[in-house]
Amino acid sequence: MIQTRTASSIAERLRELQLDVERGVWEQRLRDVTAHDVEAALTSRSGVYSLNKLLALVSPAAEPYLERMAELSRALTLQRFGRAIRLYVPLYVSNYCVNKCRYCGFNCSNDFERVHLTIEEALNEADVLASEGFRDVLLVSGEDKAFVTVDYLAELAARLRERFGFVGAEIYQMSADDYGRLFEAGIEGITLYQETYDRDEYAHYHPAGPKADYDVRLRGPDDMATAGMREIGLGVLLGLADWRIETLALAEHASYMMKRYWQSRISFSFPRLRPACGVSTREFPHLLSDRNLVQMMLALRLCFADAGLVLSTRESRRLRDHLVGLGVTRLSAGSRTNPGGYTHANAASEQFAVDDSRRPAEVAAMLSERGFEPVWKDWDRAFQGR
């Protein structure tokens, strides 16, 4: 039995479990899981986490149980979230970046035309999104600290709050004080992926730039919660390391956050590597099949009843449609991953190539057909007030 207790930091907890290094021991534990262990996990209290339970659910031994996991996940998600799927849209404000992440189109070694949007340009993009019905927007930027400053983000957020119920951000990491300023300005959720919890792989994929420090990165969610952020998005970039072990580390991180910062809600995203400028997915040895991805999502749902599960347009229409009702709670739609992409047809380079290119109204219609209400607004600017 692996005991769960409250660690003083997530770094300490991962080290104690050896989930950040020496992954051979976890590969062995995954191989040792039996059908009996999986059945025990499936009959335990649905939606409650333990590392042993998740170990069973992400193991190869659980693969024949995918249908049962889907049934349980569907029932639990229906109970906790109802027949509703929240829709959001990313708004890319800059593709300048000082980092050299080997998997990302914004890698500063890539030679392409860089763009960052002025506040007015970003608001023009937002007008398009608002006119499509969106009230939930996610600001995205490369690590472009000279232009996309805290002041820039605060001003943009304040203007966006006039039209959007919720403004989140998926941007470069900052200090707790700066997160606090963003929160005051109306950015109420932050998504920051660890990318990979494996220290060696992390070092390999992040050879230079401010993002190269694993431990600094790992402290990000603590700083967001300290700043009062309501929603904290966690995730790994799927394809960099063994997804089964990554899922265990990710869940430990979530569990640590939930115990320590009980007023912030945790959500999980499932970004799979996509082709991008200078990135061919053939270079990555740990890519996931659709079946693997779904096993990961279902396993996390069965351990975290109330966590938001987010699926972007990186994924195909077919997969997204089928996953509605099985555990997913939030979908993006109509996304452009290049700054200015909503107002100019052929603008700057993308962070990654989207797969599901349907218009937002088409995604909403699909949800209605499947018996789900497309929820455009699930928050209000009045929460964050003066």
Binding site: L78, Q79, R80, F81, G82, R83, A84, G165, R230, M258, W262, Q263, S264, R265, A305, D306, S368, G371, F372, E373, V375, K377, D378, W379, D380, A382, F383, G385
Partner: protein
């Protein structure tokens, strides 16, 4: 006629409906109609409260129904108060279902923040219906500051577990001078009937109806259960006993006649 009175307003139905989790605003409206509810609660976070053509709001006929805005999502008293003021400014509705739920997972209500917000809102002239844990002392404290009801939970919201807090609910019902609306965790019509049988003035249901395979039929079932439970309560139900009491096996041989020698 047996009516429910909250803040001097009379209602024929004792079933309140929450509007979240439905597959569409149209299904929600059909379920509300089938339920016979006269009070429906709407999360301010979900609607554009100042926009009458909002998808959800336009399905709620305010001639027939009391629209009860709720502060779902508020983490503290200040947020809840701000939401309530905004809703009143936009709609003129003075009623508010007060929810202060700092824990985003079980959404359990914060007793301290709820009392604080209720105190402020009552002073500002709101009709306050606070969502609380089944805490009899908190219920009395809220009544003291002037809330229109108390709304204790039967079990955690959305959990469908039924009357887990029954013992505390019985105390609240016994002591309360304002209507007691059992608010959360009622997963089946029989749970709602149980709440009404022990003397709750009303119940509020959302998840059990919204997530049923047929929400309209389930809304009807809850309507009937609430009516049945209420009638049973008014009929003076006998307290349950630990064992059967059909006859007197030990003393049945005794006769009343005096035997003459």
């Amino acid at each position: 006629m047996d009516t429910l009175t909250i803040a001097q307003r009379r209602f024929g139905s004792r079933l309140l409906i929450g509007t979240g989790k439905f597959s569409s605003p149209q299904v929600m409206a059909a379920a509300v109609a089938a339920s016979g509810a006269e009070i429906v609660t709407v999360a301010l976070r979900r609607v554009d409260i100042d926009n009458p053509s909002d998808d959800t709001l336009r399905e709620i006929d305010r001639e027939k129904l009391l629209l009860l805005p709720n502060t779902s999502g508020a983490r503290d008293a200040a947020e809840a108060v701000r939401l309530a003021r905004l809703a009143r400014a936009a709609t003129g509705i003075e009623w508010v279902k007060l929810e202060v739920t700092p824990d985003p997972y079980y959404l359990l209500p914060d007793p301290v923040g709820t009392l604080e917000a209720a105190t402020t809102l009552v002073k500002e002239g709101f009709v306050v219906l606070p969502y609380i844990n089944a805490d009899p002392i908190l219920a009395r404290r809220l009544e003291d500051v002037g809330t229109a009801t108390v709304m204790p939970l039967a079990s955690p919201i959305g959990s469908n577990q039924g009357m887990r807090t029954r013992a505390a609910l019985e105390i609240i019902i016994e002591q309360s001078n304002v209507p007691v609306v059992v608010d959360a965790g009622l997963g089946l019509p029989s749970h709602a009937a149980e709440a009404m049988e022990i003397g709750a003035d009303a119940v509020l249901v959302n998840t059990a109806i919204a997530t049923a395979a047929d929400p309209v039929e389930m809304a009807t079932a809850f309507r009937l259960a609430v009516e049945a439970g209420r009638r049973a309560y008014l009929s003076g139900p006998r307290a349950p006993l630990r064992r059967a009491e059909a006859s007197s096996p030990l003393t049945g041989f005794l006769r009343d006649e005096v035997t003459k020698p």
